[in-house]
Symmetry: C2
Subunit: 233 residues, 2 copies
C-alpha cells in the first residue's frame, strides 16, 4: 500500500465518519475498507462490517501498514475508493471554480455546496486535486454527495452546461451582489484565490461584486462562495 | 531566537506582505524586523527599512537562524511583535466566537470581519490562539486591523459590551436568518466548530439559523460567520 498518488486511480477516506459517508452515499466507488487492528469490535465496527458485506467490499482488519497513510495516530478506519466524476452535466444550479489552487478551500466549498443544495460543481483546470485525502477530509464527505467534474476550460464547461444565467464574482465590477436580480438556473463563477477571474469574464452574463470594505484585498475563496450560494439560495 | 511560544509575549509575521501589514496598521506593537540575508536590496527592502527607521524598530539583516521559524523556505521578512488586545470594548457591531478551536478558521474570520467592517471580535475562552503565526498568516494581516479581545466567559463579555442586540447562530433553533429583523448595534454569536452553541443561548436575544439542507451536519465555522456578517452588513 503506497502513499496517495495524484496520478493514480484511487484515493482514501482517512477516518471512520468519512468512511461511513463513502459507504452510505457512494458505495459503488468503494474498493476496500481497512480497519485498524486497534479498533474495538464494537457497534461501529459491526455496522461498517455489515455495510461492507452488503456492498461486497473487502473488509480488511489485519493490515497495520495502511494506517501510515494518515498523519494522525487515531484513524481507525480507512476507505479506498475509485476516483469518479459525473459524466453528464446535470441541470439546475451550479458553482464553477476557475483554477482553484487550495485543496482545503476546495473541500470546504464541497461542504457549503451541499449545505445549499447546489446541483453541480464544475472545476476548471489547472486546479487543485479534489481527490487529495486532505480535500476529501475537509469536504466532510460532501465530495460523495455533490456531483462534480473537471473541465479543460470554461468554454468546455459552457458547451455542456445548457441554458442558464451566468454570474461571475469579480472585484473588477461594481454591481453589488444584493442589488441584482437572481435568476435560476444559475452558475456562480469564482476565480483563483490569488488572482480572481480574468477581465474576460466581465462580458459573460451578469458580473457581480460582494460589497466589502477596502481594508482587505478580498475574502477567502470559500467564504466568497458561501456568501454567493447563500445569497442565491 | 526560539520557536513561537504560546505562553510567551511575542509572536511573528512570517512573510513580507504580512510584515508590511504589521508595520502599516499596528507599528506600535512591532519589536523587530528580520530580513533574510538572501533578500535583495531592492525597493521592497528599502521601503521596509524606512518604515522600521521611522518607527524606531530594529532592522536586522544578518540573522539567518530566525528563518527556521518558517516552514517555507522563501520567507524573506519576519516581524516580531508584542501580543496585544483591545482594552475597552468598542461600540458598534461585534462578532462573538464562543470556544473556537481552529487557528486557520480564526484567522479567516478576522479576514471576513475586516471585509465587512465589523467593529470588534470577542473570543470566549477556551479558544484557539489568535497569535499563533498560522492564524496571523491566515488572517492576511486583518488581525492588525480588527479590534479584538479574549474573555473568560460570555457573561464577562456581556458585562462590558453595552446595549446591543444579540443574535446567536444555532442549528437548534428554527428561525431562518433571512426572515428576522436585523437591528444594530448587534453581536453575532457563533459556537465551537464541532459542538456549536449550547442550548443556554436559546434564551439570549434572537437565536437564528442559517437555512441549509439536511445533507451536511453544518457549515464550516468561517463560512457560517461570513454568511452572518454578509446578511447583517
Amino acid at each position: 500500500m503506497e502513499k496517495y498518488d495524484k496520478k493514480g486511480d484511487v484515493s482514501y477516506t482517512l477516518g471512520t465518519t468519512l468512511t461511513f459517508e463513502l459507504m452510505l452515499r457512494k458505495p459503488e466507488v468503494a474498493r476496500k475498507i481497512y480497519v485498524n487492528p486497534k479498533q474495538k469490535r464494537d457497534e461501529t465496527y459491526e455496522k461498517m462490517r455489515l455495510l461492507a458485506e452488503k456492498q461486497h467490499v473487502p473488509f480488511i482488519t489485519n493490515n497495520q501498514k495502511i494506517f501510515s497513510l494518515s498523519e494522525k495516530d487515531n484513524v481507525m478506519m480507512i476507505g479506498e475508493f475509485q476516483k469518479f466524476q459525473t459524466e453528464t452535466v446535470p441541470s439546475g444550479n451550479h458553482v464553477v471554480l476557475v483554477n482553484p489552487s487550495n485543496q482545503g478551500n476546495l473541500g470546504t466549498i464541497f461542504r457549503s455546496s451541499a449545505a445549499f443544495s447546489i446541483d453541480f460543481l464544475a472545476i476548471i483546470r489547472p486546479a487543485a486535486d479534489a481527490f487529495d485525502p486532505k480535500c476529501v477530509r475537509s469536504s466532510m464527505g460532501a465530495i460523495f454527495s455533490v456531483p462534480f467534474a473537471y473541465f479543460p476550460s470554461f468554454e468546455a464547461y459552457q458547451a455542456l452546461a445548457g441554458y442558464r444565467h451566468y454570474y461571475p464574482f469579480m472585484l473588477q465590477c461594481s454591481t453589488p451582489l444584493h442589488t441584482i436580480e437572481k435568476l435560476a438556473p444559475y452558475s456562480l463563477i469564482f476565480g483563483n484565490e490569488a488572482t480572481g477571474l480574468p477581465d474576460s469574464f466581465l462580458s459573460i452574463g451578469t458580473p457581480v461584486r460582494i460589497e466589502q470594505s477596502s481594508q482587505v484585498d478580498s475574502l477567502n475563496l470559500d467564504n466568497a462562495v458561501s456568501i454567493g450560494v447563500y445569497a442565491f439560495r
